[in-house]
Amino acid sequence: MDPILLGGIVALATILVLFSGVSVALGLLIVSTGFLLIFDGLRSLELIPEILFGKLDNFALLAIPMFIIMGSSIASTRAGADLYEALERWLTRVPGGLVISNLGACALFSAMSGSSPATCAAIGKMGIPEMRKRGYPDGVAAGSIAAGGTLGILIPPSVTMIVYGIATETSIGRLFLAGVIPGLLLVGLFMAWSLYSTWKSGDQMLLASRVYSWKEKFEILPRVLPFLAIIVGVLYAMYGGIATPSETAAVGALLCLLIAIIIYKLWNPKDLWVVLRDSTKESVMIMFIIAAAGVFSYMLSSLFITQAIAEWIGTLDVNRWVLMGFVMLFLLVAGFFLPPVAVILMAAPILLPIITTAGFDPIWFAVVLTINMEIGLISPPVGLNLYVINGIAPDISLKTILKGSLPFVACMVIAIILLCFFPGIATWLPDVIMGEAV
């Protein structure tokens, strides 16, 4: 059979199976096994356990559970609230200070957490009720946190960047650095929009929030120190010659656990178990998808689908930006329905050769891809962050959350467009710190 046609059939089967309610990882295994059985015969099934094991046989993967532990241990303390409060006391004179504080807290928390929903929940628990109390519209309150939370996978560390790095064999240290400036750019855009919308609403109450004395401002600073200690410690370990990026994750996890236990007094074994249980749960889920996606890409390669698609795209005589447009559209649609890790693992092996042949930088592409995935996190029908917000503030309707998030989606689209015109936004920092790409 023509590999391209076969590819189409595989795609259809995959969509059908993945939407059937079966877990994503098992769904990928089922589709792969089915096609391997038909086209490669019964004996190819012998390989499945070896491929599953082999995909996990990678030191870099260790960083995934580690960065998840970092986020969830800090999220289970009042550190998020402290951070949020400190920012609020200092930004009180700024118009719309509260929403700005929220976004800033999300950005800072992202620098410690590898996942988006965790960031969203850590800041939202405190931020959303506070904003609503002060009269911010529900949509702005919920939307800003939903969007701010997505920064968790763009600002390093990032679980999805690790997955991308492994799937495409790009340097994880470089990928992390590439997310920094685009992350700040997004924060800036989010803040600009929030300011504009509060200003437009004309409610003077929002602009002038509570006034804090200098004493109150300085009082809270020590409570932000643990955050800075973690961020500085991790950065120093990673770029200061102590450890490789994957090893650094373990340092970060240990630091966060220690700070949670010592400073935030998280020493009740039950509470610690909750942190560990939730980290285990999320890590195992992600790692199983990685292993299963390995079998899926083996199937695609063995049936020559990957190669045929790459060849076919190569023969198409289209402008590289048209090609990129289609790739992004595809990613956006995939992101509407599937979790980021699954999209990256399924798409990267097929897309990356196409992208690099067309002359795009894989590091730059990782950033654009990540922002696409961020949009998926706050868009229907499946948006993890939306549900987290819904959990924090059940009385805000999903429609309101969605409406509040839409302008932030627009900010992300603007960021992607800016990145297309100025790829340096992503590539400059890694090039300066780590030298030109290999």
Partner: protein
Amino acid sequence: TELRLSHQWSNQDIRHQVAQMVADGVAEADVDLEIKIFPSRSLFKPREQYRPLTRGQLDMTVLPLSYAGGQQPAFNLTLMPGLVKNHDHAARLSASPYMAALEEKMAEDDVMVLVHGYLAGGFVGKDKCITSPADVDGLQTRAAGKAFEQMLAGANASITSMASSEIYNAMQTGILNAANTSSSSFVSYRIYEQVSCYTPATEDFALWFMYQPLLMNKSTFEGLSEEQQNALLAAAEKAEAFYLEEAKKQDAASVKVFEDAGVEIAAMTAEDFEEWRALAQETSYKAFVEDVPDGQALLDMALAVE
């Protein structure tokens, strides 16, 4: 008939070219035989290739044989320090009773060799040149291969294990002071940007030689028609000659790249080489002989090749 060949290298790599030559030669012979190449680990990860090969789920591969050393400990001899002196010596080893003994071991796994070939490598130092064992004392070192780790540990180096793709970053941040791998990896990972000195394989002395043959599943080969077998063997013979010539050029080419990058080039003297070899005898050779039942006999056969 369609055969599947998997390897871990890019389309520009010499080992891909060897595979491609065999594929082209067979295609030209027009004997209803097609070799489909899956390069750049697009089908199997490097170390996952040997087992499917032994069971015929994969037909052919270009593989550093020492990757399978955990299943056939005798294969560890194919990445042993100081056992191969230079490329011509490597070619004589490939045609010796020593190799015949190894091929017997492969036959136990239903595997046969189509194209023999060795590639050489050297050392890089971040701050200084590495020529004799005394030079690695106290350095954080990444070595390619178990036997090299044993030897370097014997020279009092601190061994750290990481993928060759991580060498660049580790050198840059200073986690690593020295590394040892193949000439082509040094170039493809642009290690020359991070080091001050390179000790390449030369025509006289090289410590690091790795046997990287093109292997085939034996039963699959025997299942082919005589015509097809002959076409394969003829193409393999041509490829082997090409492999040897190109392998020699790789070392010189890598020296050129390092020189152009302003890296100092150091050379091992005959004394240095003997020092390393004496050290290897006490460390890696000894460990090998203890580990493998007929290890001493195999080692003697290899050492007997002039």
